[in-house]
């Protein structure tokens, strides 16, 4: 996973932020995925052009974590989402 990457939703997938984290919807089913990521990743990350590096930096600053801790926490969530076929990674231009 490249820190300059951006992440997009797979075709047919939508997401919104909830108190527990992220709620993904995919009509092809199973329809709903509950990701207990709290406020680590906002749903807008998957609709915008923010890079992984930008997200890690923002989490590091918000939580007062080290760069490495923020990176590991974020990457573990993104790996899960990729393995479920909900998002895909694309190198940023």
């Amino acid at each position: 996973m490249l820190t300059k990457s951006v992440y997009h939703l797979r075709h047919g997938v939508q997401v919104r932020s909830e108190n527990f984290g992220l709620l993904f919807y995919h009509h092809a089913g199973p329809k709903l995925y509950f990701v207990p990521s709290r406020d680590l990743i906002d749903a807008s990350f998957f609709y915008g052009e923010s890079t992984l590096a930008g997200l890690i930096g923002a989490v590091r600053d918000k939580r007062g974590w080290s760069e490495e801790t923020a990176r590991l926490r974020i990457l573990s969530i993104l790996r899960l989402l990729k393995s479920r076929g909900l998002v895909y990674e694309q190198p940023a231009c």
Partner: protein, 225 residues
């Protein structure tokens, strides 16, 4: 749905079921909405667009459209297109009678799913419940939709009349390239009047449960889709 996060409360519904109109071109004996005549209190096009806007703002993922017969509204396809521009998935429940090639061409197959109501596997058994000509028109609608790659399911209300035809209905769905769904008969609308006559017996309900266990591909549930 049993889920800790759902029980704690979500920020908005995941899907919304909307009976867009009470007007209907059919008069099915079990109709839970007692649909038929146009209700003069129905929402205007602008009001409907505002409802869609509210759903989009709250990030509702899916809109289940029923009625009445939604295609009877002159602005129905415009409203579906409007919902699709907002990224909302629409699941339409219809009797299929008003689905033409032109109407189907306007449906965004990536964002629309259609459920066509069929209550018997043959013209005679279906039309006894849904009215003369309804079977033929439903089959025509399914053909028009599947030809365009729209995902279609056949929905059957479980009654004493449809119960003996479940296998045949399931095969029919497979033959026409549709999924199959069985929904509960409810004592509401005209279903209140026909309840005693049409509701399945306890024995039939148990047999239906066994049948479902053997047909995992068949959907059920009170909500649409």
């Amino acid at each position: 749905m049993s889920n800790q996060h759902v029980e704690e409360g979500l920020s908005a519904p995941v899907n919304v079921t909307w009976e867009l109109t009470y007007a209907c071109n059919l008069s099915c004996v079990h109709c839970l909405s007692d649909a038929g005549k146009l209700n003069t209190q129905e929402l205007t096009t602008e009001q409907c667009r505002d409802v869609v806007d509210q759903m989009a703002r709250n990030r509702v993922f899916q809109l289940n459209i029923g009625g009445g017969e939604p295609f009877i509204r002159h602005d129905f396809l415009d409203l579906m297109e409007y919902a699709h521009t907002k990224g909302i998935v629409t699941c339409i429940s219809t009797n299929g009678a008003l689905i033409t090639d032109d109407a189907a061409d306007r449906l965004n197959r990536d964002l629309v799913y259609v459920q066509v109501s069929v209550d018997g596997a043959s013209e005679s058994s279906n039309d006894t419940i849904r009215g003369k000509g309804s079977f033929r028109r439903a089959m025509r609608a399914i053909e028009i939709l599947t030809k365009r790659g729209v995902e279609v399911s056949i929905n059957t209300v479980l009654t004493r009349l449809s119960f003996p035809e479940l296998d045949a209905l399931s095969h029919l769905a497979t033959d026409v390239g549709a999924k199959f769904r069985v929904s509960r008969f409810r004592p509401s609308g005209r279903g209140k009047t026909t309840w005693k006559e049409l509701n399945v017996s306890k024995e039939q309900m148990i047999l239906f449960s066994d049948w479902l266990s053997e047909h995992k591909e068949v959907s059920t549930g009170d909500s649409f889709f």
